[in-house]
Amino acid sequence: MTRFADCSVAEDIVGRARLGDPAANEVLYRTYSTAVYNLALRLTRQRTIAEEILQETFIEVLTKIGTFRGAALLGTWIREIAVNKCLMHLRSGWYRKSRPLADIAPDHGDYVVTATKPEHMDLERALANLTPISRTVVWLHDVEGYTHHEIGKLMGKSDSFSKSQLARAHQRLQVLLEDTNESEQPCMQLSNNY
């Protein structure tokens, strides 16, 4: 169970976690940590940053679990915290300074493609060639199921911004995937350290 939609914990666990039960807290971590890590890795494409975001997300979860009222699903609440952490990282001066063209140029990061199926490898490569903003919009919309309104709100922009970013990203993805099919690509680095 590695996607937020696939993760769930029993109500009594959430109740115990709210009261600060360490065992229940650990259950939350074990249930959602992979989903949080994957989201962070997809958005930031840097393993060290993704691991840092994973830790920060759960520190915030443990700190604020007492205020979680259950109006939303716990997974949705944790995902929102994680997404905000990722966006904070992408917006941070440190990140932007280290990548002056972050808004217009792709950021490959230190993420190494490990897909075993060729079509997945092509898609991974195409994703890596999107700008961080486009990749974030695509991932949040197409994988995490965020609406344009929610994405616009998260990024402090309008719904139209999200729609146009998604359209541009898919256009770019199609071009990249078609290029991949038409031309021979250099060997991809495979890693077995995941």
Binding site: F58, I59, T63, H120, L166
Partner: protein, 238 residues
């Protein structure tokens, strides 16, 4: 007119679109093909392999969470006790102000010429010359004949000593010349004290009187120099 990417994505995501657009995409092979690609892309994105963190970060999360809690507690305590801190600072400031005021008062006292000094300077009877020197009679006279004057010198020396001790401490910033002068005078006094102590019993009364006279003179000079030094500090613009 073919559908735009945004329109195709809207159809893919089951967002509201016009009936005409929907009908066109259903009928148009090109649009249909593009729509299928977008659907496929979304499905492939959702099927991308998942990864796990390189190691278990739960201990770090717990430790950092605990550290954060401790820091928060510390900050709350600091906020709570900052009132006490402010009160203590105000109290300390008051004490320093009172101390400073008293210190200034001492300086003012020092600005007035000590009575003994005035007395000493106004009446130069302390000097040896003013005593017209020892006469032969006096030299030959018994110690009892010089005792009153010797007592007076001793008393005057003691009073100058007391005045010197009553003067405020020397300023932190001092002149080298003044310090040399004061050191010389103090050494002179120490030398006379040594002579007075060394020849206690068998020295003639006249010699004792001269020594005491010199001591009074030196003490007088010392007090005057110290007094002048205090005046300089008192009148300095700072």
């Amino acid at each position: 007119m073919h559908a735009t990417i945004e329109q195709l994505l809207a159809i893919r995501d089951r967002e509201p679109v016009t009936a005409g657009l929907k009908q066109h995409v259903d009928m148009c092979l090109l649009c249909r093909e593009r729509l299928d690609k977008f659907v496929l892309a979304r499905n492939e994105l959702n099927r991308l392999p998942q990864h796990s963190p390189r190691r278990d970060y739960w201990p770090e999360v717990l430790a950092r969470h605990e550290h954060g809690r401790q820091s928060l507690k510390l900050r709350r305590n600091l906020t709570r006790y900052s009132g006490f801190g402010l009160a203590a600072s105000a109290l300390l400031a008051s004490v320093l102000f009172i101390y400073q005021t008293n210190d200034t008062g001492n300086d003012k006292v020092a600005e007035t010429t000590p009575t003994v000094v005035l007395e000493s300077t106004a009446t130069p009877v302390i000097s040896v010359a003013e005593d017209n020197g020892p006469t032969n009679d006096q030299l030959g006279s018994s110690p009892a004949s010089v005792k009153p004057e010797l007592d007076t010198l001793i008393a005057r020396s003691a009073r100058l000593e007391a005045v010197l001790h009553a003067l405020p401490r020397r300023p932190r910033v001092i002149r080298a010349g003044t310090t040399d002068l004061i050191t010389g005078l103090q050494e002179g006094v120490a030398l006379i004290d040594y002579q007075l102590n060394f020849n206690t019993g068998d020295q003639p009364a006249q010699v004792s009187r001269q020594l005491w006279q010199q001591r009074v003179d030196l003490m007088n000079s010392l007090v005057n120099v110290r007094y002048a030094e205090m005046q300089r500090v008192a009148y300095s613009p700072n």
